[in-house]
């Protein structure tokens, strides 16, 4: 055992509706979230990530399966009996209370002594740097400040697990990036387990210790950002996280033959008809006709600032995209229609399931 689990979901099923019209928002999901980690549930809208979060919070009960907190069964415990707090997507701050009263609310409901409520509220205000706003109504705050109040309110009762439901989606880009760093800092300072829900892969990659990728009510893959990016388990995960190229191939052990007749080396052995994936930044352009390189023709060039996307066609017409760093002069010496050689970085070619 490396570390204990803060949250464990066992074979959780959540169906909405009855009979034939019933929809499975969660379809046999099992996941273990470790104590003190920043865990992200990542997936497109409607994948079930928010439903899983609501089950952990206690706003919904699963149709089947168990939810454990620190090894205790909390599946049917109401939300006000769970040492778990939520930062809502809409913040859901209490409009009739001041910033300080919002933060103190959970502590008051827990029946903490007044002196403890005061010191804890002050510490939370300091933690999210809102000391000057303590007496303000929440409607007088900016979006970023409201976000921080929501965080402080949820952290004040020192929950065992903090749930965050796309809390940054309403903020503009600059503020969102600042809050990402802020969230990570808060998580490290408090040591509380964070379960963060987002559809934004960049957010997930930059903040998380581990990521659970979801789609269609199923957990597709769980792993560190690096794991998921470099070794996607299936086509969905590979395409949802970052950009990638897919190639059909006939695998035989350590190598696979592309329809163009070229042979590429595989990271792990496989046999039969397979789908290969290779990230655009793992493609290297070389001189045409170089030994061991695939023959390709440049079909388009798209300049992105730091790098340039090179759209290529293999000899059989298969399209792939390569990402090359833009040189200082801004001109990579590439032009449309040019014939080039294409190499894959060692270990870059992965076999993915469907």
């Amino acid at each position: 055992m490396t570390s204990k689990n803060a949250i464990e979901a066992r074979n959780v099923v959540k169906a909405f509706g009855q009979g034939e019209t019933s929809v499975r928002a969660l379809d046999d999901v099992s996941v273990e979230i470790r104590q003190g980690e920043f865990f992200t549930l990542l997936g497109p809208s409607g994948c079930g990530k928010t439903t899983l979060l609501r089950l952990i919070a206690g706003f919904e009960m699963p149709t089947d399966g168990l939810i454990l907190l620190d090894g205790q069964d909390i599946t049917y415990l109401p939300p006000n009996k769970r040492p778990v707090n939520t930062v809502f997507q809409s913040y859901a701050l209490f409009p009739h209370l001041t910033v300080a009263q919002n933060i103190a609310f959970g502590l008051e409901m827990l029946g903490k002594p007044a002196s403890e409520i005061r010191t804890r509220t002050e510490r939370m205000l300091a933690l999210v740097k809102l000391e000057a706003m303590a007496g303000r109504k929440t409607s007088q705050l900016s979006g970023g400040q409201q976000q921080r109040v929501a965080l402080a309110r949820a952290l004040a009762p020192q929950p065992k697990v903090l749930l965050l439901d796309e809390p940054l989606s309403a903020l503009d880009l600059k503020l969102r990036q600042a809050m990402q760093i802020e969230l990570k800092r808060l998580q490290q300072e408090t040591g509380i387990t964070f379960v963060f829900v987002t559809h934004d892969q960049e957010e997930a990659l930059t903040m998380s210790d581990r990521i659970g990728v979801m789609s269609n009510g199923k957990l597709q893959q769980v792993g560190s950002a690096k794991d998921i990016y470099t070794r996607p388990k299936n086509r969905f995960v590979a395409s949802f996280i970052g950009e990638t190229n897919f190639l059909r191939a006939q695998a035989a052990g350590q190598t696979a033959r592309l329809p163009s007749g070229d042979v590429v080396e595989l990271d792990l052995p496989a046999t039969g008809e397979v789908t290969l994936t290779v990230r655009p930044e793992q493609l290297r352009l070389t001189a045409a006709g170089e030994a061991g390189a695939l023959a390709a023709t440049i079909t388009n060039l798209v300049y992105f600032g730091t790098d340039t996307h090179v759209h290529l066609a293999l000899s059989d017409g298969t399209e792939v995209t390569a990402r090359v760093q833009s040189p200082a002069t801004g001109d990579a010496g590439l032009e449309r229609g040019a014939r080039v050689g294409l190499r894959f970085a060692p270990g870059a070619v992965q076999v993915v399931g469907e």
Partner: protein, 307 residues
């Protein structure tokens, strides 16, 4: 103070448009003067005159109308005695109005909550049903209540049939009858402003409350009620004020015995032939209600800003 950078022509323009503004609001002011201020002034003036023999007023200044609110002149000894009949009526009016306001709130709040949490289509239907009684004359609706609660009425028949009671409950022509009638008549006036307030309430705050360890009762008391308070204030004013001046309901269901202020005023203008007393009673009602409302609204707002 005129801004220094304005030319004389511009200043004249501003004066002209200010004058035009007055002219445009003139029709509204005339209507207001004729319909609201004028009649009130007449009532105020009448309250300081002497009663005529066959109703109407004699144009002599007198404060008898105002003293008559609380004291009656004993015709034998010519001394003033406390008008305890009036006090009974005032007390009954206040008591029944408060009780009506409280009951309409207790019944109206779950009703408004239910409607506000339906789908938009169902909500329109429920609101329509709530407003249907307004289409029927108040007198007819009050007689309908009479039909339900009288000795041989539906309620008594049903209760006797089931065997809960062996002889009819004496409801009609009691305070309870008046209270039932007013609660029925004024309930929509409580439900509609409550609905408007609850409709604006963000239901996600309930989850936020539960998430922060509040029980259902605490969520209601600490989150829902403070936020929908403007609706509660509006609803209770809309119910309390007309209840205090209610006239038809106590007349029909109180049978003329369980009088409220409205009936007392009517009595002075018709059978009593004491218009100054009736006018003074009307003015008193107006003043008391206004003062009570000022205090009520201030208290409600003050509480809000203090948390």
């Amino acid at each position: 103070m005129t801004a220094p950078h304005l030319s004389p022509a511009e200043q004249a323009q501003i004066r002209r448009s200010a004058r035009n503004g007055w002219l445009l609001s003139l029709p509204a002011l005339v209507v207001l003067a004729m319909a609201a201020v004028g009649p009130l002034l007449i009532v105020l003036v009448y309250s300081f005159l002497e009663p005529g023999k066959h109703g109407n007023v004699v144009w002599n200044f007198s404060t008898d109308g105002w003293t008559g609110i609380l004291w009656t002149k004993d015709i034998f000894t010519d001394s003033f005695v406390l008008a305890d009949a009036h006090l009974t009526i005032f007390w009954r009016s206040v008591k029944l109005s408060l009780l009506t306001t409280l009951t309409t709130f207790v019944v109206g709040f779950p009703t408004a909550w239910f409607i506000a949490t339906r789908s938009p289509k169902a909500r329109a239907l429920w609101l329509f049903l709530i407003t249907i009684p307004f289409w029927t004359n108040l007198l007819i609706r009050t007689y309908a209540i009479n039909e339900v609660i009288r000795a041989e009425g539906l309620l008594n028949l049903a209760l006797m049939k089931v065997g809960i009671i062996s002889e009819p409950l004496k409801l009609i022509y009691t305070d309870i009858a008046v209270f039932i009638g007013m609660t029925y008549v004024y309930l929509p006036l409580m439900v509609l402003p409550l609905f408007a307030a609850i409709d604006r309430f963000d239901l996600r705050l309930l989850e936020a409350g539960y998430d922060l360890y509040a029980s259902r009762w605490q969520v209601l008391r600490r989150i829902v009620l403070p936020i929908v308070k403007p609706g509660i204030v509006a609803g209770s004013i809309l119910v309390f004020v007309p209840s205090l001046g209610a006239y038809v309901t106590p007349r029909v269901l109180g049978g003329g015995k369980q009088m409220m202020i409205g009936n007392l005023i009517e009595l002075q203008f018709l059978a009593g032939k004491n218009w100054p007393l009736g006018a003074a009673l009307s003015m008193m009602l107006l003043i008391v209600v206004t003062i009570a409302l000022l205090f009520y609204v201030r208290a409600a707002n003050g509480e809000k800003s203090n948390g």
